[in-house]
Assembly symmetry: C2
């Protein structure tokens, strides 16, 4: 039986819709009263795990799930050892550098050397500032990164932006886009190569479905 | 003006009650409709930041908040450079090693060498298994650590236990307690030593209040 790792949060609804279009029903996870983290499709052909977005690649890497859906942002930050199989097109957002609108900075290179940059994406932020050869101090945060510039703890942030509402509400402006992110289909490399539990036909179906959705 | 960093989640209610008993009202954070992360006490003598538990020591370390409330578990895991000023007594829980009840293991030393141990407390787990000289592979997770043994990804977990309900619901049993945790009052070391914004009298009041509560 195939096990699928699904991410809690923003990507869950579209992920469940995708599997439903293939005849696999994991909609039990959308029930607010649900406390189960592991459910089976009613047809008994697949099961799903509901885990934190950052944990999806862990379950896939260790082979507890043969496939998973996760944002490109998580893959870029963690570099897990998983096969990247398809861009699913949904969950579009971008990782950006932002500063206070009232600051004098209008590009990342305007930031003074040794500025503080608050981020949940410590590795991506480090890589980016190294690539523009600007030495900065990354302040690792777990949530509400926008508080960094508001409190004066950091000059800038590196954070995910989708609609831009959080930035606007906090009088922050985007300076640079590090990369665009969308939901990705990942798989355990060996399971995929060995076609365990009929993984390859499932992946082929998802790719077809996704290509069709993109074409519309 | 003193700035206080308060942790979202389990410790928030008791933290706000503590400051209310000192005449500082941050109860706006308890309003479910509240979206503000920074509020002032109505008397205008102090303000509070609402941040993730793991971020409390960061705001205190960088001096954006002079004091903060955070669980001992976060201090043990991150070793931030802050002054530990008082044990506040509430938010009691423990960091424990747990395994499936159906497993043959009845103490941590029964675990086979190179077992996998899933945990959000990577550093604490590493330290503990080093102290008993048992080489294990720590699998870092962000949430729902109990899924580790359920899916067979890990033999054991190291996780916070308060009532034990999560363990029981998932047929897991506790083998060892690494340490007990409670909420702690922390401060920016220099601000405390220099008594900036009258920090020392506030801390003295909190200590008195806490001692009184413990005596009851």
């Amino acid at each position: 039986m195939i096990t699928v790792a699904l991410p809690k949060g923003a990507l869950l609804g579209d992920s469940i819709a995708l599997f439903r279009s293939l005849g696999l029903d994991f909609s039990g996870f959308l029930d607010k009263a649900n406390r189960q983290l592991q459910i089976s499709d009613p047809t008994g052909t697949a099961q799903a795990l509901l885990v934190r977005a950052q944990d999806v690649p862990v379950y896939v890497e260790y082979g507890q799930a043969q496939v998973g859906i996760v944002g490109y942002d998580v893959l870029r930050e963690k570099h897990p050892n998983v096969a990247h199989l398809a861009d699913l097109g949904f969950g579009r957002c971008r990782l950006s550098v932002a500063v206070k609108a009232s600051s004098p900075y209008r590009s990342a290179l305007d930031l003074p050397a040794h500025s503080r940059v608050a981020s949940k994406f410590v590795n991506c932020a480090k890589e980016y500032f190294q690539s523009i050869d600007l030495p900065v101090e990354i302040v690792p945060l777990y949530g509400s990164v926008e508080l960094g510039p508001i409190t004066g703890m950091s000059e800038a942030i590196v954070d995910l932006v989708s609609t831009g509402t959080t930035l606007r509400e906090n009088n922050l402006i985007e300076l640079e886009v590090l990369y665009q992110s969308t939901a990705r289909l990942i798989a355990h490399p060996l399971s995929y190569r060995l076609n365990s539990d009929g993984l390859q036909p499932l992946v082929a179906q998802i790719r077809q479905q996704t290509a069709a959705a993109v074409a519309v």
